[in-house]
Structure formats: structure tokens, C-alpha cells
Amino acid sequence: MKINLHINGIDHPLEILPGDSLLKALRGLGLHSVKFGDEQGLTGSDTVLLDGRPINAGVYLAAQAEGHKIATLEALGEHPDQGWKKTDGLHPLQHSFIETGAIQCGYCTPAQILAAKDLVERKPNPTEAEVREALSGVLCRCTGYKKPVQAVMRAAAILRGEDVEPIDTPAPIPAPQEWLPAHEDGAAPAPFGGDPGIPQVDTRTRVMPQITIAPQEAELRIVGKPEPKVDAVKLAQGKPAFAADVEMRGMLYARVLTSPHAHARIKAIDASAARQLPGVAAVLTHTDIPRVVYSTAGQSHPIPGPLDCFSLDTKVRFVGDRVAFVAAETPEIADHALSLIQVDYEVLEPLLDTRQSMQPGAPILHDEPDYVNFADSDPSKNLAAEIRIDIGDLEKGFAEADRIFEAEYEVSKVQQAHIEPHVVVTYWDEDDRLVVRTSTQVPFHVRRMLAPVLGLPIKRIRVIKPRVGGGFGGKQEMLGEDIAGHLTIATGRPVLYEYTREEEFIASRSRHPMRITMKTGVKNDGTITANAMYALSDTGANGAHALTVTGNTGHKAMALYVGDGEYRKTPNIQFNADIVYTNHPPSGAYRGYGVPQGFWAVERHMDKIIDAMGFDPIEFRLKNALRAGELHPFSTAWSEGREPRPETIETNGLEECVRQGKAAVGWDQKYGNPEWQAIPGKPHLRRGIGVAMMMQGTAIPYLDMGGASIKMNDDGSFNLLIGATDLGTGSDTVLGQMAAEVLGCSLDDMIVYSSDTDFTPFDVGAYASSTTYISGAAVVNAAKKVAERIRIRAAGMFSQRQDVSSSGRQEALTFNAGDIQLSNRQAIAPDGRTLTLSEIALHTLHAEDQEQIMAVGSYYSPVAPPPFAAQFAEVTVDMETGQIVVDKLVMAVDSGVIVNPITASGQIEGGMVQALGYAVCEEMVYDASGQPRERDFRDYHIFMAHEMPELETIFVETYEPSHPFGIKAVAEIPLDGVAPAVGNAVFNAAAVHIDANPITPEKIWRGLKEK
């Protein structure tokens, strides 16, 4: 049918199908700011303005939109620098989103800005609640919404003509409560929180407080500053930066036929009818492609896990497993073709309970002869991996204890839920090399792993990682790349494969669910004498990340509490785990990588001990916690399947984190205070407060490696090419800041590009909290080499100038390169003379002894310095219904030196909110036949802008000596403590111990009934 759409002020006559969505029509016109997030309109990444109001274009027909005014982000603002053409620049909303750090991955940014535009035009002076309501239709998995709300409030103020605070003005550090006069004179503490019904979220735009407890090496100009993200301008405009934002002539659309059974053997497939359907270019079944065994885990070679995957197999092992691939001219034809494929299944008994996996007679998932073992894996017992770690003498420790506490805990299966789904485009280039444009965290691993699966040598594959719309571990996996690759090989044509949201839930990856048993010995003085954990981990149908995820459960969570006194020197710790197959969808990497599971058990267990023995929750934890100067207890026992080497903790700001966090949350006034716990006029409600302490790691020692290259340009700018992958975390920005710091230029002068396996140096990718530390050190190494060449050339130029102007005094005025300072885009001689970097570049490239100033740096680390943190949570519990509302989360974190406080605090805020879902609402549930309950965001609820608790982040800066700028990791630790802190707060409020997350109303209600 023919329609006319009025888009961004221009009429567009279109020929469409009646069922075409407005999203499809707009993207077909090249308006890529409108993005696919799901089929139900619940992500809102497909937001457009229809007659000025935000709607979801994915669930609105193009035909419905005829006669209405449609606006997309493309109509808003322009890059301020377009050469000779003068522009009005960006809209204040776009400016504010950039300045405040509201943009992380940027996938939902166009939608948020459009929703905000509607609001500020309707209500120029909106309240915070109105801003949150306006943004409620757009899910964001990265930010925790705090900075987007700040951005809208700031833009509204600017649009009203008001002055706003500069963004880089640090807020004063809040004084701890005990320093306040009211406390000293014994007066009543200040009121807490105010009306519980009114949001208390701070929307002032400010840099988060930083407390430095260790000196840095030198004063820094760019590292430590809240620089705007280098990719923010394009993301604020909705530029076509993501994997699906390309249009290629002859592109085909891939779809996958998935298994309706949890466990079945494919007896026969008849794809003839599908192949004959007009518009179908290829149908592939297991008989059409080579059988190559591999692992999907995006890890370094050799992958530390079993090889137990095939692109297509004769057996299906979970509902959602692959059965056949189709490529067709349109997605609709591909869908139709799937319905024409006839599959004859022999349905097998499903294995859905980890406790049955290793029992005699249990169904065997991997009976294929080409299964490749790793370490202790044993497919005949459904065992994907086994871990046995003994540190010290556990039995001696228990014998020395006054009391021993044993308990079982459970953690749920949860989804990364990045708003951009897995998406990949493959095509042959003019040299018949396969180009893979994919939303991945691990482009170099994908290239290496994909090659044998497709029967291509590595050198004939090029992987391009464009902007990634969130990953959180879900894209540390090779999931769709082989599908598109097979179909491009079969058809010779470009292929786009984009997961549906249902496929994300049923056929991608998740956090490992576990059953965890804790046994802890404690002396009456509060000393832990022995601590043991056993984890039974559900890897699902495949063993990707099985060993390493669960290894980290113990390696991090069981390392924090070593005991006190002599036990600090020789702690008694045991960590055992069995990681077993089931007919659930495979588990995998998810931000935190096993550690949130461990801390749920450890920190809930600590509170039980504290309750039973009458200890103070904070004093008990700090008494037993690992300290600086001590050996990481696991460093001599385990290292991700490789040789362990001893590692000493150099920095640990945990005690200061506790002190600052306590002050910010008002712990001393609230904990154990029945007046605070009661809510006047609402006797069925009780408040509670809880704490958890955590440590994580920073990269994998002796394994993770990053590379960087830096090239100087004529104008004194630099191309920084990195293999590291920015998922929205801001790593491109912080790596650019480090390079600019060394090179004496501004961040504007760094043209940062990541990643392309043809052009950028190798990097393991974005995982294990490694990028800022490992890739950052690689950048610094490259930058130092470039800086050295600049100094040498500058020294020569200074000397030559002396030759001309002061003949005969050359010797006295010759400088060593080491005497030259690089600062403010200049080389500065000891006598104060200057050369601009542009002058040096032009001289070097064009004038004399020409050379390209350029260098490559790389780095791997012998250590993995842990960040430490204290997490506080406040909740309100309904004592009649079990309803829980989380009111406030405060996290104080020692991540070493913070390179960019805006991006780093954004990591903490977003991480805490993901972890909040783990605490109270996120889980993936399966029925007795393995059918999943969660297939969309209606059932899998993630937090929305208008239901958020107050979030507060405090950085306690230590200086980690192993890194050139003293940094440690920030990315994963916010996932670790929220759930147990909320669990502990629920116990504080309701005296009910919840041992299995998420903490649902019914679990609390049951606990209350059983009391």
C-alpha cells in the first residue's frame, strides 16, 4: 500500500506492507536513531514523537502514522563544527546528556532525549517525579537513570534561561555524622530521609565525592577529570553507530528455528517446503554444514572449558536451542520459512535439577563422541567442571572454633538484558575475506574462535566492533556470528542476524544459578577460624565459562574474610564446586562473573553469625577482612585454570569505605533504632538497614593483555587505536584521557577508535574488569614511546632555532629530550620556549628527517589488585504482605584512582541497579518440562526510571602502585553487594532470613508466618 509520512518536517511517499511497523519504515529511510529493543514496546528504544508525544514505533503501524507529524532525533541539533557551514549546534538536552554523563552505551539515548523534549516543551519547570515519569517508557540498563534525570533537569533550567553549576565543580565531601555538633552534645540525631513517599534522589549535577587517602604520584591535568565521553556527541544525535545501522545491497535477514523441547534428538528434518518459498535464499540444517566442536566462551586461547557446542547438532538441549537457520529477502519471509520446516523429534527426558545431574541414571546431555574435555570435566556424569581448593587446615580451624554455623543459600538465573540485542552483519569484501560487523565484547576472540567453525583461516576473517548497546558479559560469547557467517558462505550475500527479545531470554546466556552451602567456624571474640563453601552451579546445556565463573565465586567472595590474628597469616578456607549440565539454557558470563553469587551466600551468612553471636555487623566484618600487605589467600591456589602465583594486596580502602558509607547512610543513627524503624501512622511498615562488604578483581594476572597504537597527525592530534571494546562503559574516553595526560594534549586531540581486528592492536576484550587497568597501561606504554619521540624531535628543533638566532652558543643551549615537558599541546623547553605539537608534527612529517611518530604499546599484569567496597541498603517492609521497597542504596568503593568520576560513578549507579534487580525481582523460572516463564520484559522486570531508590556513590581513592595512574577496577564490584545488603536490611526490618534471591514478597511473607 502507498502512504505518505510527514517525518521531521518532510513528506515521504512510501510503498509499504499493511503490517509494516513505523520502526521498519523509519529505519528503511535511514533514520537509525530509532532502534529495535523488543516486540512489545517495553524497552522504548523505538521512541519517536507522534504529534509531539512519545510513542513506540515498533508497535505502531506505519499506516497508522499517516496524517500525523513524526519527529525523530535526527531533527534535533547538529554537530557544532561542520566546517564552513554554520550550525546552531546541539540542543540543550543533547548538551546536558553529554555533560552529565547520562549517555553510557547510547542505545536508549535518542529515546530518552525525545521523551525529555516532549516533557520540557509541555512543562518547562518539571519536578524530578515528572522527569522520571516522562522517562518511564524508556528502559536503560546502563545508567540507573540518575544521570539522565539530572540531564533533563539541567537542560530544563538552561532552556528557562537559568544559570547552572559548572559540571566539574566537586561537591563538598559530606562530613560524617559523628563530626556534627548535634552528636557531640548528645542532642537527638537529625531526621532521616523525610517523608518516605517522596523521592529523595539528588538531581543536582555534580561530580561524585572523592576521598583521597593515598597521594598520587603527580598532579594530573586530565586523568581524574569529568571529561565528556569521546563518543557522546554522535550518540546524543542518534548517529548510525551500532551494528545494525548499516544498509547493504542485497542484504538477507536471518532467522533461527528453535527447539520447543528441553531435551530431544532430531530424527529427521524436512526443509524442502521452506527452501521452495519465494524469497528464501538458504535453509541450513545440521546436514548442510560441517560438524565442528567448539566453545562459545569468549576467552583467551586455550579456552579453559570443555568444547561441547556445534553450530547445528542432531540433539537439542534446551527450549530455544538451534535447529535450523534461514536467510531470506525479508524478516517476514524468513519467519514464514521457519514455519514450513518439518522436524521429527525423539523427545528425551529433561534434566532440570542440578541435584540430579550427577546421580546414577540421570539423563546424559553430552553423549556425543566428539566432546572435548577440559581438566576434570566428565560428560558421563554431566560434569562440566570441578573445583577443589583447600587453603590452610580447615578441620583444625573448625576444631578451634567456639561455634560452627552451617546454612544453604540459593541464587537465581538472571539475564544481562542489554537493550541492544545480539546483532551481527556478515559479508564478503572485495578480497573475499569475511567481514563480521558484530556487537561483541571480544572481537579478537570471535575472529579466532569463528575461523575453524566456518572453515576459514583466521587471516581471512575481519571482525569489526562498532558501538555496542550494552553487553554486561552477554556479548563475551560467540553466539550469532557463526549463524550469519554460515549463511553468508551459503548465499554469498550479506546477512543480518538480530536476536528477537524472546531469543534473548530463551536462547542467549545468563548468570549461573547456584546452590551454595556455607560452613563457618567462629570464636567467641568474633574471630573466624575456618570458612568453607560448596557451590553446585548450573551451567545449563553447555559449559562455556563453567569453570571460570564458579571459580571466581570462591576466589573473590571467599577471599574477603580470612580471620583475625594468626589466622591472617594462615587462613583456613575451602572452596569446592561442581558445575553441572542441565537442560536449562546455557549460563555464561554476566558482569560480576560468579562473584555476586558468592557474596549473596557469604554476606547473608555473616549476618546470621552476627545475629546469633550478638556481634556488631560492621566491626565483625572488618575484624576478619583482608587487609593491605596480606597475601590474597587464593592467589597461591587457583587462577582461572592456569598456574597460580602469590599476590600481595597493596591497597585496601575498605575501612574508609565503611566510614564514609556509614556517614552517608546515617548508619549509627538508624541501625538498632526502633524509632527510626517505625513509620508513624503505618504500623504494618517497618524500616531496615543492611550492609555488605565486597572485593572483586582487576583483570586476570599473567593472561589478560591489551594493545594500543598511537599515531601523530599534522595538527598535533593523535589517532589512538585500541583493541579494547567500549560497551558504553566509557573505556574509549578514559583510555583517551590517559593518553592525553602523557602526551600533554587535550582529550579533544585524541581520535579514539575501537575495535577492528584488521587495524587495531590485539586486546582480550571487555571483561574481568580489565580494560582501564590492562588496556590503560598499554595506552600509557604507547603514549610514553610517542612522547619520547616528540621530545627528541622538539629538542632538535629547539637546538636548530638556537643555531639560527644565537650562532656560536649551540652547545650551551642543546637540550636533552628528557628536559622537555609536554603540556597544553606544547613542548616546553627548560628555558621556557615552546613549540606546539602541530609545529613538531609538521616538521616531522614534512620538513626534515621525516618520520611518522607512532608507537605500539601492550601490557599484561602479574597482579590483579582487588577493589574493595561497602554497600549499604535501606528498605521498608510491609509486615502483612511481605512487600519490600528499597529506599536507598549507598556504595562507597575503593577503585584506586578514578580516571573519570562521571563515567565511573555512572558505572556504580548502573551496576547497583542491575544488582537491585538481582535482589528483588529478576529471575528466570522454568516449569517441569523446561519451558521458560520469562520471554519478554513484561515478565522479566528490570527497574524503570520512575521506581528507583535513592542512589549514592562515594569513591575512596587509594593509589595502586602497579598501575601508571594508580587505578583499580570499577566495573563489576557494584554487582556484588546490593542483594545481600538488601537481604540483611530485610532481616533488620522483619527478623526474617531470606536465603534465596530474589527477595520476593511471598518469601518474606512465608518467613513472617513461620516466626
Binding site: M1, P18, G19, S21, E39, Q40, G41, L42, G44, T47, L50, R53, P54, I55, N56, V59, Y60, L61, A63, Q64, E66, A115, E133, A134, L135, S136, G137, V138, E332, D335, S339, T500, D878, E880, T881, G882, Q883, V885, V920, C921, V925, D927, R933, R938, D939, H941, F943, M944, H946, E947, P998, T1000, P1001, E1002, W1005, R1006
Partner: protein, 257 residues
């Protein structure tokens, strides 16, 4: 799968299209449900040009055009506060700008806050073919309802006390249990439960509120599924029913002030 799109400008023209036996033809409101992927081929009749989006208070009734969006209803000053709460709980802002009042009721399952409150209000659906049906009668018949029965208007009373209570995993998550209570000046009280099953459930329609908590407990005594046990829902339904009735007193005080 939508195979035909029509946008008639008169109700008569719409009814002619909807009366066709082939292809199956359905009214299209905002499209937030109907436009989701489906293998079933349908033709749709877009009602946006039929003038069905008006909302007007007439006497003691609020008449809501079938095509009025949830957001328009939320923005209407006369809309009862508890209904506004339920609308906010039903959908986030973007979807509220699309979803229509009638479409939401037609597509509602038991977890719909909007349908729960509308059922408590005793909403009446007015059809194009001179027919009025109480929402409580319509909901069980939806699957078999003739597509040609185009809803044009929904009518709710305004001279009532209304309360909406719920329990969910988070403030904006779908309800595990919700309860809506409406009370007329005569004392007539309707209590409806939601959070379970294919449709909200009328637990009480009596001359007064007496027995509402027990009625709620009984009504959900077998309301168990993957999301919650029947024992939990039953117990919480009783609690929420009590609170909903108590909230009438609170609203009385607000009115007096």
C-alpha cells in the same frame, strides 16, 4: 500478521469492514498489543478517524471514548484518583500515549490494574450496534465476541469512593495481587481482585462492605501459579481488601478537608 489496513471515517464503514468473515477483521486502537508479532493473518480497522477519543463528564458519569488513550484519561481532571493510580501502574508513559481505553480492556489479562479498577467501577461498554454490556459480562466473552461489535464508549460512575491497592516485586512491576474497591453512596460495594488468571475477578458486589476481606480470601483461595501460591494470594487479597475498604475512610477525611 497484519495483512490489510483500513482507516474508515464513519462508524458505518467500519462496521461493514468488521462484519466480513474473511479475512478475520479486528478493530485497531493504539496497536500496542495488536501490532505485536503473530502468525495469525488479520485485517485491521483503525478507529482513529471515527471520533471516538472524546472524554466527557456527564452528570455522575464519565464517558470515555473507546479510542481515548490511557494518557488522555490520566490527564482528565474528573478521572478518579485511584483509577489514575491504576493507569500509571498499567503502562509506562510511551505506551499510555498509544494504548486506548477499550483496547486495553479487550486485551487485558488478570494482571491488568486498569481492568481491575474498571471492573470494580462496574464500567459499561457501549457498542456501535445499540448495545450496552457491563465489563463483567464482556470480559469472559472476549474470546468468542464478534469482531463486528465495535466498542464506541465506556461509561464509569463518578459519584463513588474508589480505592486501589497492590503488592508487586517492585513499585512498577505487574501486581502479584491487586484489589480495587468501589463504594456507591447507597453503600453498595464492589471488590475486584487482580494479579492472577485471564481476567480480574469480582469478589464481592454487595449492599455494603461487610465481608469484603473474607470474600477476597475465598475468591483467591485457589489462585496459585508460577508467580505466587494460592495461600499467599488468598492471604494478601484479604489484607488488601481490608486496606481498600479502610481507604474509603481516608478519602472521606480528604473530602471533608
Amino acid at each position: 500478521m497484519i495483512i490489510e489496513y483500513h482507516r474508515p471515517e464513519t462508524i458505518e464503514a467500519a462496521l461493514v469492514l468488521l462484519a466480513r468473515k474473511e479475512p478475520r477483521t479486528l478493530p485497531l486502537g493504539g496497536g500496542s498489543v495488536l501490532n505485536q508479532p503473530s502468525d495469525i493473518p488479520v485485517a485491521v480497522v483503525d478507529v482513529q478517524s471515527l471520533g471516538l477519543n472524546q472524554i466527557a463528564a456527564r452528570g455522575n458519569k464519565l464517558e470515555i471514548g473507546a479510542a481515548a488513550t490511557l494518557q488522555a484519561l490520566l490527564d482528565t481532571p474528573e478521572t478518579p484518583l485511584a483509577l489514575k493510580d491504576a493507569i500509571r501502574h498499567e503502562a509506562a508513559y510511551n505506551l499510555r500515549n498509544m494504548a486506548t481505553a477499550a483496547g486495553t480492556l479487550v486485551a487485558a489479562d488478570g494482571r491488568s490494574p486498569f481492568a481491575t479498577v474498571m471492573l470494580a467501577l462496574g464500567a459499561e461498554l457501549v457498542f456501535a450496534i445499540e448495545r450496552t454490556l457491563a465489563l463483567g459480562e464482556f470480559l469472559p466473552l472476549r474470546a468468542n465476541a464478534s469482531a463486528s461489535e465495535l466498542i464506541t464508549k465506556i461509561s464509569i460512575p463518578l459519584n463513588i469512593k474508589l480505592s486501589y491497592q497492590y503488592v508487586a516485586r517492585t513499585p512498577a512491576d505487574l501486581p502479584i495481587v491487586c484489589a480495587a474497591a468501589a463504594q456507591w453512596s447507597s453503600g453498595r460495594t464492589r471488590l475486584v481482585l487482580g494479579g492472577f488468571g485471564n481476567s480480574p475477578l469480582l469478589a464481592l458486589d454487595g449492599p455494603n462492605a461487610l465481608g469484603a476481606p473474607i470474600a477476597a480470601r475465598d475468591a483467591y483461595s485457589e489462585a496459585g501459579d508460577q508467580w505466587a501460591s494460592a495461600a499467599y494470594r488468598s492471604d494478601v487479597a484479604e489484607t488488601l481488601a481490608k486496606r481498600a475498604i479502610q481507604a474509603f475512610g481516608a478519602s472521606d477525611k480528604k473530602e471533608q478537608n
